[in-house]
């Protein structure tokens, strides 16, 4: 171990710093990976961000990267920087469960496109992160393998469905993670853990190999502790893939350069729209959430942005449309978990009884609820009233966004109405749980990109508040420019990233 690295806690560094240090020979990938494995061993018991750790695989990649670097081989920017992957992505040779007992022990025979890109970027994969079962949830409490705990307060939820990916970042168990966002599953966990998460434009990142929840809403995206780190991972993940028919055939937006540009803190000429329906103007948002949001708006103005208010009246129906479209598509996507080709089988005398018993035992209550709801919404006689109507609402939501973006470059809102709630608090009240995603869902319905980044701690509870930025489809770079500017402005006041303020976790011996 070099002298420098022994003095530095590398788990606290940004991914960009790690990449530079690797390139400069300050640290080896093996050291970085080992530091994170040690950190995981120390804190992941109570946090439970990971479902599976691949120590040997990560170290093997790290050794190969170190050897290539020593031999002068040209390497990708993030080569050697460790990463955690949400368990929704299939990883050849690594257990993949999507948080469900029905897939316990399944080892996929193939890699998702994004998994392949991570491997091609030579990033050591630390393991698979916890999630709500099949990404259905906003708290990770619906994981078939037990909830993840928020590193800011272990009695609270880390958000969901990607609570594992967000908590791993907040607990310094990984510098970068991958998430998937169907109605806020990247942005909402980022918000409640004081990390950064981006849902790219629909089709901007290949979904091939991502276990589908709702195909027309799902989008994979990068998670990090800083806007620049998130941008670096975005460029690794993004780009056209012929294995996904819905993949956009266009270059990855230049998000890294946008993040660098934004860090200069000049937003002159930028028009920022506050969506009245998402801003808590009508009440219902926690006071500290509104306060931090207002302060961030002031910072944007200070940096030269013009802030205007816009209205998107049909957003009132977005939540209902979402909870029709998602369960409908999910009910079909989850049919394949039938005990025939992979996963759990509860054997009975006939194949039909076996399917009934397997799905009863393998799926949790939230999954069952949504499958039943979707089956209902698609069934004969109800399709037009539910699925058909929801698709029309989708058109209205898109029109509202089109009108809003005609007036401004980006739209902003608090990411979530509240700071993280206590584990168990809303578990028996599905509707209350669904309300967590009220501000994040419209972006998924319209396919547009969105980011959440920290805007401070709510004064009343000292817990993280997230700031959401939305941009028109294909304009992901705008998120990074505005986000990096706000981040830089806040960091200047805090003397560093908000994540550094997280309470120290008790370390296991």
């Amino acid at each position: 171990m070099s002298e420098t690295s022994s003095l530095t806690d590398w788990t606290r560094a940004t991914a960009a710093r790690m990449a530079d240090a690797l390139a400069a020979g300050e640290v080896t990938s093996v050291e970085l990976v080992q530091a994170h494995l040690d950190r995981i061993a120390a804190v992941d018991g109570p946090v439970h961000a990971f479902l599976h750790i691949d120590a040997e695989g990560a170290l093997e990649t790290a050794r190969a990267v170190d050897a290539d670097r020593a031999a002068g081989v040209s390497l990708p920017r993030l080569a050697g920087v460790p990463i955690g992957i949400k368990d929704v992505l299939v990883t050849k040779g690594l257990p993949t469960t999507a948080g469900s007992r029905i897939l316990e022990g399944w080892i996929p025979p193939y890699d998702a496109t994004v998994t392949r890109r991570v491997r091609e970027a030579r990033m050591p994969i630390l393991g698979k992160t916890n999630m709500d079962e099949f990404a259905m949830g906003s708290s990770t409490e619906h994981s078939g393998y037990g909830p993840t705990h928020n590193p800011w307060d272990l009695s609270r939820i880390p958000g969901g469905s990607g609570g594992g990916s967000a908590a791993a970042l907040a607990a310094f168990e990984a510098p970068l993670t991958i998430g998937s966002d169907t109605g806020g599953s990247i942005r909402q966990p980022a918000s409640v853990t004081a990390t950064v998460g981006v849902k790219p434009t629909y089709g901007g990142v290949s979904r091939f190999g991502a276990i589908a929840l709702a195909s027309s809403l799902d989008q994979l995206g990068p998670c990090g502790r800083t806007v620049l780190d998130t941008a670096l991972l975005h460029e690794v993940m993004g780009g056209h893939d012929e294995m996904d028919a819905t993949s956009l055939d266009e270059p990855v937006p230049a998000v890294v350069s946008a993040a660098l540009e934004g860090a200069a803190m000049d937003l002159t000429g930028v028009k920022v729209g506050v969506v009245r329906e998402l801003s808590g103007a009508d009440g219902g948002y926690q006071a500290g959430v509104t306060q931090r949001f207002e302060e961030s708006l002031a910072r944007l103005r200070d940096m030269g942005a013009e802030v205007v208010e816009v209205s998107c009246p049909s957003f009132e129906y977005a939540l209902a449309a979402y909870y029709v479209i998602l369960p409908s598509e999910a009910s079909s996507n989850l049919a394949k978990f039938d005990s025939v080709r992979f996963g759990l089988r509860v054997e009975r005398s006939t194949v039909e009884k076996t399917m009934l018993a397997t799905r009863a035992e393998g799926f949790g209550d939230e999954v069952k609820r949504r499958i039943i709801l979707g089956t209902y919404a698609l069934s004969a006689g109800y399709y037009d009233a539910y699925y058909g109507s929801a698709q029309k609402v989708r058109t209205l939501v898109q029109r509202d966004f089109d009108a809003a973006f005609a007036q401004c470059d980006v739209l902003v809102s608090p990411t979530t109405p509240t700071t993280p709630f206590k584990i168990g608090e809303r578990i028996d009240d599905p509707l209350a749980m669904y309300l967590n995603d009220i501000a994040t869902i419209p972006a998924n319905l319209a396919g547009i990109p969105g980011m959440s980044l920290p805007s401070g701690l709510a004064p009343e509870d000292g817990l993280p508040v997230g700031f959401q930025i939305l941009a028109p489809a294909h304009e992901d770079a705008r998120l990074y420019r505005i986000g990096a500017a706000l981040e830089a402005s806040l960091a200047a006041e805090w003397g560093g990233p908000l994540s550094a303020q997280a309470p120290e976790l008790e370390v296991a011996q």
Partner: protein, 99 residues
């Protein structure tokens, strides 16, 4: 639109191939009825003239050339199978007809 009752849930669970005990039905029916009532408002807003959006980014004609790609090896294909025999997936007795 009428709300969902217990017998509806039982029928839908059958259609979705999820066995449900009486206790399951008791627990889930009430929650589902509340959710169904809440989402029913989707039908209130959009008129006849509003087109449906099934895909968020409008695109068309994304096709693949008719060129063979490698398949999985048989053992890889069967690697996750709960039961297999003679290179095939084995399942309990199928009652009913060929669909």
């Amino acid at each position: 639109m009428s709300s969902l009752d217990r017998s509806d849930v039982a029928r839908l669970a059958g259609l979705a191939r999820i066995d449900m005990s009486d206790a399951d039905l008791d627990r889930l029916s009430g929650q589902l009825a509340v959710i169904v009532d809440a989402v029913a408002k989707v039908a209130e807003v959009a008129g006849e003239d509003v087109p449906a959006t099934s895909h968020p980014i409008p695109m068309a004609n994304i096709h693949r050339e008719d060129v063979v790609r490698p398949s999985l090896a048989q053992d890889a294909a069967l690697s996750g199978a709960p039961d297999a025999e003679d290179g095939r997936f084995r399942v309990p007795q199928i009652l009913g007809e060929e669909a």
